[in-house]
């Protein structure tokens, strides 16, 4: 009884658990993506769209639970928006995975190293996002987690600028080869931007009810 009063009803608990699951699946998708690049294995990359579909169904469940009346109305739209931003990260990661399939083994070692670094940072950012979400139940400071995510994003930006310099010097044989490579890099580097947006939104959500 006391637990229900202080920690929320069934629907609220369900939403919270599903949001955690949603972020954990994003972590798994990022991990899978990283391994696929490291091992240059196109087949491994198929797990990303699979996990994206799973994430999609969880997002739908979260939104329908919220519309059934979980949480105060003032918080509902904020939670939905946060979940949608996380879902956007899934979409961008999936786009990068598709581009990788077209790219195959055409990644230079130099470029590949940077891509692995970015994929690794993306994974760390997802894990940090989960920790940040969990601070909404504890007395820990969300600002520290928010700052860590921003620092990770800055690192990705630095690698991205280096990568662009390298890409400019690289010779491409056809239009499609250049386009696929350019799209792959831009999708890969956008994941961190979206996770940063999600973290910022989490911060806004945290201060909105105070």
């Amino acid at each position: 009884m006391l637990e229900k009063v202080f920690f929320g009803g069934k629907t609220e608990q369900k939403v919270i658990e599903n949001i955690k699951r949603h972020i954990k699946i994003l972590c798994s998708a990022s991990d899978c993506f990283k391994k696929a690049i490291e091992e240059r294995n196109k087949d491994l990359m198929f797990c990303v769209p699979d996990l994206e579909r799973e994430g999609d169904s969880i997002r739908r469940e979260i939104v329908s639970n919220i519309y059934e009346g979980a949480f105060l109305p003032f918080l509902r739209s904020n939670i939905c928006r946060f979940v949608e931003i996380v879902d956007e990260a899934f979409d961008v990661l999936e786009d990068a995975a598709y581009e990788f399939e077209y790219l195959g083994s055409k990644l230079d070692e130099e470029i590949e190293d940077d891509c692995i670094k970015i994929a690794d940072i993306n994974l760390k950012m997802c894990e940090m996002l989960l920790i940040a979400f969990e601070t909404l139940f504890s007395k820990e400071d969300l600002r520290e987690k928010n700052l860590a995510i921003r620092i990770y994003e800055k690192k990705v930006d630095e690698i991205k600028f280096d990568l662009i310099e390298k890409l400019r010097e690289k010779e491409v044989k056809s239009f499609w080869e250049g386009k696929i490579l350019s799209d792959f890099i831009s999708y890969l580097t956008r994941v961190s931007d979206v996770i940063e947006d999600a973290s910022d939104y989490l911060y806004i959500m945290n201060v909105s009810l105070r």
Partner: protein
């Protein structure tokens, strides 16, 4: 037969309280999805009854005994005019304070019929009308500041949960005040005139408040609820609970005051804590005008009717 006129008017006003003022108590809770209207009506009705039985005596005495010595003609005219004014104002979407209309009508008919109106008691009541929104203003402001220093420190989802409980408690406090203050104001004169005893009047009044809430309150609540969903529940609680405490405080002093004006005072208090610009001065001016007009019109109409009939 003539005795039925004030009783019928009382029933109409109680029904009006149920249909309109239920939103003061339940609007936020239902708008926030804390409880459904059907489930909320039973505790609402119970608290109205508990309110008038436990804390209603002082207000009943102030209005029914201290203000003036009522007789059947004063009762019939003042309560009928009050009921008519309240229905007309609600129809015109300008809901007045029931307490103010009833007090204005009683004073108007009392002065016109030449009975001894206790002006000291009347001036105390008018003074409490001025002071109560200001008190609610400070109560809500202090409450808001206290919440900033305590509740704000908790994790987000804990705040959300606690706010749900607090909003429900706050709604129930307002329901208690509806019984202890508003219903007590309209029942005071009929109880002291000997038309009905206090317990019977309490049950009858509560029944009609409950009936009004069951039959007609949903529309007003939906409107308030829709408006509230876009409001911040944190400030909403501070304003509503501050106002509730203020009405309870004045009820214990025996003063019939308006919950609506106290809530407006509370909202202004919370608004003030966020800066003067958030308070809509034009709206406050309109409310003050309505605050002066409602009892004055009731006073003048009753005065004129009573003089014409003498």
């Amino acid at each position: 037969m003539a005795e039925l006129v004030p009783l019928a008017a009382c029933i109409l006003i109680a029904f009006g309280i149920g249909s309109n003022d239920t939103s003061n108590a339940l609007g936020i809770c239902i708008g926030c999805g804390i409880i459904r209207l059907r489930k909320a009506l039973f505790p609402f009705g119970c608290l109205v009854l508990i309110g008038i039985i436990i804390s209603g005596q002082k207000v009943i005495k102030t209005v029914g005994n201290d203000l003036l010595e009522v007789n059947l003609s004063i009762l019939s005219i003042s309560l009928s005019v009050s009921a008519l004014l309240i229905i007309l104002s609600n129809w015109k979407r300008l809901p007045p304070s029931t307490n103010q209309v009833v007090i204005g009508s009683l004073a108007g008919s009392g002065v016109a019929s030449g009975v001894d109106v206790n002006f000291l008691s009347l001036s105390k009541i008018v003074f409490s009308w001025i002071v109560s929104p200001l008190t609610a203003f400070f109560f809500s402001l202090i409450l808001y500041k206290m919440m900033e220093k305590t509740l704000s420190k908790l994790p987000l989802f804990r705040i959300e949960r606690i706010l749900r409980i607090l909003l429900f408690i706050s709604g129930m406090l307002i329901a208690y005040n509806i019984g202890a203050n508003e219903l007590a104001t309209i029942l005071g004169p009929v109880i002291y005139s000997g038309l009905i005893d206090r317990i019977q009047a309490s049950f009858l009044g509560t029944f009609f408040v409950f009936l009004g809430a069951v039959l007609l309150s949903h529309r007003v609540i939906e409107t308030v609820g829709k408006g509230i969903t876009t409001l911040d529940p944190y400030s909403g609680f501070a304003a509503q609970f501050g106002a509730g405490l203020c009405v309870l405080f004045f009820t214990l002093l025996g003063m019939p005051i308006s919950t609506t004006y106290c809530i407006i005072g509370g909202i202004s208090g919370v608004g003030m804590s966020k800066g003067m610009k958030t308070v809509r001065i034009e709206l406050i001016k309109k409310i003050i005008a309505n605050w002066v007009l409602a009892p004055s019109i009731a006073f003048l109409i009753c005065f004129a009717i009573m003089r014409a009939l003498r």
